[in-house]
Amino acid sequence: MTPRQRRVVLVVGILAGVSVAGALALRAFQENVMFFFDPSQVAGGEAPVDERFRLGGMVKPGTVERQPGSLDMRFVVTDFKRDVEVVYHGVVPDLFRENQGVVAHGRLGDNGVFTADEILAKHDENYMAPEVARAIKDKHGGVMPVDPKPPLTPKTVLPTP
């Protein structure tokens, strides 16, 4: 082979390799991306049944039920318009609390109950996942219907002597 031919072979080989990798990556991407739905969308039948997705909203006060001494629990996620019931088995994060933002990963059953396999609540008392905040605000004319915690802007929360 002349150096020119060799270079052509090399370039073609690299291009082929990169495109195969790209195609496989795209496939993995399509199969493994999780979409976000809020309780109104889920209750309205927009969310897929039997496909994993992210459900986000607020933990509705007074709905967290636990079998004493067991890891099984159920609670209701709300956007203050529609509610979705969630069942979960496992350890919940430190900041999982009533009236706090929560994101759950899992599947929706035929009965409309969401079975979560993972629950996320970040390590900040003021934290709310941006998609959750937006989903709730959208339903209430751009404002939060409740203000669970003061925002982290300094002047308002610092005690004055």
């Binding site: 990556a25 067991s70 350890v91 390590h123 005690p159």
Partner: protein
């Protein structure tokens, strides 16, 4: 007054950075030597000023000056002094100040070590670094000033985020930033070479140690972050493909490619424009990482407050830096042609494959990290990308990359003569396979398809990376830092692959509900919940449990996981109980009180997990050793001598003896 001194020093640093930029870029362009000579003093003065600013902020923390808003937000009278110092970089404003200080330190180091560089080239390097400093000072002063006062001052502060009250926090951000910012030096060298329109082997030899050291810092920073997440977040994982983790991993991947491509540029004068592009890319990804973390577009466990004006500023800065450098590249890179051929199985080819595969791996991480942002911006729905995407797509380019490592490190420049080493390669491969089988059958039992591949590849890389130094030792040849460093770094890579394969294949985990006296089985391990008692620290109170672990009935470890309630921030923290042993970590984290006297407990057994971080440390150490190789020093001295003898050095590879003769003369 004292915080104002810091504020004022920061403003002076901004002015000095502007002077540094102007003199550094305009001086050589207009041929004004006196302008050029003003660059280094500006660098020294700027470093002094930003150091004063950093020390003033630290003093405000140590002295509990809650009239400073940033201190009031991130400290508390009960906070131990170590965390008060670390709190300087515990939130947004202070971390930017730390960023600027580290950049000033790198710039100072370049100024001190560049006396032997051609003066106009050194001035340009420092000028480009000045642009970066300027951007960060402007950003800090305009949107994120840590010296703002509160009036009236609150009696006490809001405390540091409890998650950050950990010894690893003291080291993780500075290390990470030292790596991020260190790539600015490689970037500045690349831009200076493009401004000069000349790039030779000497350029690569100057750039290599800087890049390698920055890469080593970044490796340690990432490893520390992973270790911290493992024991502090209470989830027991060590890598989550979280956007902020990816933001630090992408510059690392491109930086790894850059180190290897620089080797080709130094030894063979090839890949010149590619090397420049990688240097631009590595620093651009560092800036992008800063943008992702600081702007609040991504919310993750690591990122602090979100603020759109900050995001906009960083985005504009990003566009100026990346756009500017790429425009410079488009204009100047065609000048830097290299004409030399190489054979298909030569070292050049293997390093080319290394570069392509690393860049492809970076691209897959990039796609997964940016997809949620892009989809959101285009209104295509809110989506998230998790390990299910990252794990397979990342392995796709990385597995062939790993398989090429043992062959590549024993190939020769220019000519493909892998055949000479065939015996050694096959022997180590066979040994690697034996080790993999022994681990699977003897120690851990059956596994998935990828397990033998990962174990075998890891063992093969480890063994074959030692072949060179062992061979030299047997033949009583001297060991140069370059050889030892390279062997150590690749040995570390092999250990990393092997240990991560074991961790991923053989980790046992289970969430259980346990009351006092209850037992839970986890493979051959048994956890017994002995007690749970109240516990107290300087700024928290909580409970501490005691769990005894046995393996096949034999005592294996005692764990004390804690649940802490930090008073000031009213936040609950999980402090995992971990028993570390050479072969495995036994881990327990307390969940919550489930009622009926039982607690939820996350129990995990992770074999060889500590070797993952140790391996990262070995890689970094290898890099540092390689960067101390004599030829970088002698090359510098040689160039300096030549530069004084003949005003325009011709470039290209100096004769092997030239360096020694030159040093002999001085």
């Amino acid at each position: 007054m004292l915080p104002e001194v810091g504020h004022f020093a920061l403003i002076l640093a901004l002015v000095l950075a502007a002077l540094q930029t102007f003199f550094g870029i305009a001086g050589p362009a207009l041929g004004r030597e006196r302008w050029q000579a003003a660059v280094a003093p500006a660098v020294f003065a700027q470093f002094v000023m930003v150091t004063i600013a950093l020390v003033r902020l630290g003093a405000a923390f140590v002295r509990h000056d809650f009239s400073v808003e940033y201190v009031a937000q991130n400290s508390n009278a009960a906070l131990p002094v170590m965390y008060r110092v670390a709190a300087i970089w515990g939130a947004h404003e202070g971390s930017l100040l730390l960023w600027s200080w580290i950049l000033a330190a790198w710039t100072l180091a370049v100024a001190l070590r560049s006396r032997s560089l051609p003066a106009h080239f050194a001035a340009r390097v420092l000028g480009v670094l000045g642009v970066v400093s300027l951007g960060f000072y402007l950003f800090t002063l305009a949107t994120s000033n840590p010296f703002l006062r509160l009036s009236p001052a609150p009696p006490d502060g809001r405390d540091l985020n409890p998650l950050l009250q950990d010894p690893a926090l003291v080291a993780h951000p500075p290390m990470l930033y030292a790596g991020y910012v260190g790539f600015a030096v490689a970037f500045a060298f690349a831009c200076a070479a493009m401004l000069e329109g000349k790039l030779d082997a000497a350029w690569a030899r100057w750039t290599r140690p800087w890049t390698t050291i920055a890469w080593a810092f970044l490796s340690i920073g990432i490893a520390l972050g992973s270790w911290w997440a493992y024991y502090e977040l209470g989830w027991g994982g060590y890598w989550f493909w979280d956007p902020v983790e990816n933001a630090s991993f992408m510059p690392w991947l491109v930086g790894t490619a850059l180190i290897h491509s620089l080797a080709v540029t130094e030894k063979r004068g090839l890949f010149k424009s590619w090397t420049l592009l990688l240097a631009i890319l590595a620093f651009s990804l560092s800036l992008l990482g800063t943008f992702l973390v600081r702007s609040g577009v991504l919310v993750s466990v690591h990122s602090f407050a979100a603020d759109p004006t900050r995001g906009l500023f960083i985005l504009a800065f990003l566009i100026v830096m990346i756009g500017g450098s790429l425009a410079l590249y488009a204009w100047r890179a065609p000048l830097l042609k290299s004409n030399a051929g190489f054979e298909f199985t030569s070292r050049e080819s293997f390093l080319l494959f290394n570069n392509i595969l690393l860049v492809v791996a970076t691209a897959t991480v990039f796609a997964g990290t940016m997809a949620p942002l892009i989809s959101d911006a285009l209104g295509l729905g809110t989506l998230s990308v998790g390990p299910q995407y990252f794990n397979p797509t990342f392995l796709l380019p990385v597995l062939p990359l790993l398989a090429l490592v043992p062959v590549g490190i024993h190939s020769s420049w220019k000519k493909g003569r892998v055949g000479d080493k065939r015996g050694m390669l096959l022997t180590t491969l066979a040994l690697g396979a034996v080790i993999a089988l022994a681990l699977m059958l003897g120690a851990y039992g059956g596994a998935m398809l990828l397990t033998p591949i990962g174990l075998g590849l890891g063992a093969w890389i480890m063994l074959s990376s030692l072949a060179d130094p062992v061979d030299r030792w047997r033949r009583k040849l001297s060991q140069t830092p370059a050889i030892v460093g390279m062997a150590l770094a690749h040995f570390g890579l092999g250990l990393f692959v092997l240990s991560i394969s074991v961790v991923e294949s053989y980790t046992l985990e289970r969430d259980v509900a346990l009351g006092v006296g209850d037992r839970a089985q986890l493979g051959r391990f048994e956890y017994r919940f002995d007690s749970i008692e109240p516990a107290q620290g300087p700024n928290w109170e909580g409970v501490r449990a005691k769990l005894t672990v046995t393996r096949d009935g034999e005592p294996n470890g005692v764990l004390y996981p804690e649940k802490r309630n930090y008073w000031v921030q009213r936040s609950v923290m999980t402090e995992a109980g971990i028993d570390m042993q050479p072969t495995r970590d036994v881990f327990a984290a307390l969940g919550e009180d489930l009622g009926a006297g039982r607690w939820s407990v996350r129990a995990q057994v992770r074999p060889l997990i500590n070797y993952v971080w140790f391996a990262a440390f070995l890689m970094a150490l290898g890099g540092v050793i390689a960067a101390t190789d004599r030829r970088y020093r002698t090359a510098r001295e040689a160039t300096a001598t030549r530069a004084t003898n003949e005003p325009t050095p011709t470039g290209g590879l100096p004769a092997p003896g030239a360096a020694r003769i030159a040093t002999g003369e001085t």
